[in-house]
């Protein structure tokens, strides 16, 4: 039996986390939560089977881009797909996310079915996606 892929949701707003949790759980994923970048890093460390990270950018304490950069720098999970999900998309930050190795940047609002489709694509196999592009 296939195990439901684990998705880590990082956002400082409880409401946003709950919404994403509902959407993704409903689509058959297991959801972990963290309320800032530093806790997000801890969750990845505690759960080596996390298949993907979905993170807000603007967060107090440690923002999403810093978390992304630390995550890629510590080298434990180099292929772990990270997706930024936030309200704005200023070009310099997009560039920074890309350089740091993020897989994508989604601007809210996003339709739940689009999100599920994207998360599914990134959790099934990175190799499949590379071929398709």
């Amino acid at each position: 039996m296939a195990v439901a892929p684990k998705v880590l949701v990082v956002d400082h707003t409880l409401f946003v986390r709950q919404q994403l949790n509902l959407t993704l759980t409903g689509a058959g994923f297991t959801v972990l939560e963290a309320s800032d970048g530093e806790l997000g890093l801890l969750q990845v460390e505690y759960h080596p089977d996390v298949a993907m990270v979905l993170s807000e950018v603007d967060m107090p304490h440690m923002d999403g881009l810093t978390m992304l950069e630390r995550l890629k720098a510590n080298g434990a999970r180099p292929a772990l797909p990270v997706l930024m999900l936030t309200a704005h998309a200023p070009l310099p930050l997009l560039g920074r996310a890309k350089r740091a190795g993020a897989r994508g940047w989604i601007v809210r609002p996003i339709k739940p079915e689009h999100l599920v489709e994207t998360v599914r694509r990134l959790t099934t196999s990175t190799a499949t996606y590379a071929r398709a592009s």
């Binding site: 923002d63 310099p92 560039g95 940047w105 601007v107 592009s133």
Partner: protein, 478 residues
Amino acid sequence: MYTVLLVDPSPTRDVLAERLELQGYRVVSTSDAAKGAHLALSAPPAIIIADLWMPGISGIQLCRLLRSEPATEHVPIILRGPEQSGRDRFWAERAGAIAYVGRGSMGDLVRALNQALAAAPPQADGFFTQLGGGELDLRERIAAQLDSALFDSVIASEIRALGVCGTFDRLFDTLSQFVVRVAGYRWLAVHSFQPERFAVHAHPAHRQAAEIEARAALRVCSDVPAMFVEDEDAADEATGSTPLFEAITMGADTLGTIAMGARAPVAGVHGAHEADLMRVIARELGGPIRIATLMEESNRLAMIDPLTGLLNRRAFIAAMERQIALLERHGEGFCLLLLDVDHFKNLNDQHGHATGDAVLMHLGVTLPACVRRSDVVGRWGGEEFVIALTIQDPTRAAARAETIRQAIANIVVRDSTGAPVEVTASIGVAAAEFGDSVEQLVERADKAMYAAKSAGRNNVTLHPGTPPALQARPAQVH
């Protein structure tokens, strides 16, 4: 299998798509430019083909947008337009299209496509962007991009206009006045390599700290003096974020460096605007710096007598006018020495003009060596030299003149036959007085010099003018 995104509102789109599929490409096609942009950003294809003329968003706009977006910055774009339009071709290239192909020839298009993909196989880093607000977000991004392009070209033209500043100092002052308005900073510094110059703009309260930070950022040695511009336009803040740094280039040469001590971030993530600004400035500043330093050099050359390396008559008069102004304002007196080489005409006739020139060149070295740095030495003309000594007391000035006379007498010059040439000079000394013009002062020194000549040459004569006591303390005369 490569994916081609085809954005084309014309009815020929489907025919084109079929042709490309025959070539072995996977084709995603749309008639709408906004939809095309969304498709390109959310799943970057291997290559994009777009038409130049589309309702709503033009091919040029689409091209510029996709070039600037990290998700599609490396995706090649081919634009299609009217067959023979040089203007469209120009703008397509400027917008970053890899090729411009006439609409009529499908063969040209297929060739351009194959060539582009062979030259630069797509990079599959898979980064994508999904914009939530649909076409609205897209229009905002196009508008923002247009704004930033306009901003860049305005900044660039402002920087280029600095070419008229004439001197490095003035250039830096004008530059800082302009940059501080566009981006508030704690300090701004420019380091030019040749000639080596270093300038800093900072708030007066943080002058020292700014200089230390700027020297560290630009790696400027402590023996290069800093030119300072201080005012309240610079932020009154002791700390900020890491300095931004750019090399100032012109063609293949690096002319210098520029650094900015940016202010501390206001909220979360920041600094992109300042970094962009610095890039534009560094790219454009090379020309104005080169012009300013060349003008400085040519001005300097216009002040120097080429034979002796001393100030020429015009520059010396200007220096004396400044000295006289200081005398009148602050009572800082000085003395003028007028020096004439003895029997110079005979020397020329006997030993040749080359020997005469050699004597003058020797004086160009000997005279500055006998005086302090604050004293001014010039060639008055022919074999006459002038020295403005920042000494108030004429008898002390005459003593210094005596030292100079002896130094001249010790000069060893040999003519073309190797025979030693005797060099002596007669020196007249006059003290500057209140209400003096340059002519009056020179005239007194000249009279004293003639007295020295009449007294048998090779000696020093002091003009019997105002009593030394009064000259020494001119402020009390008032």
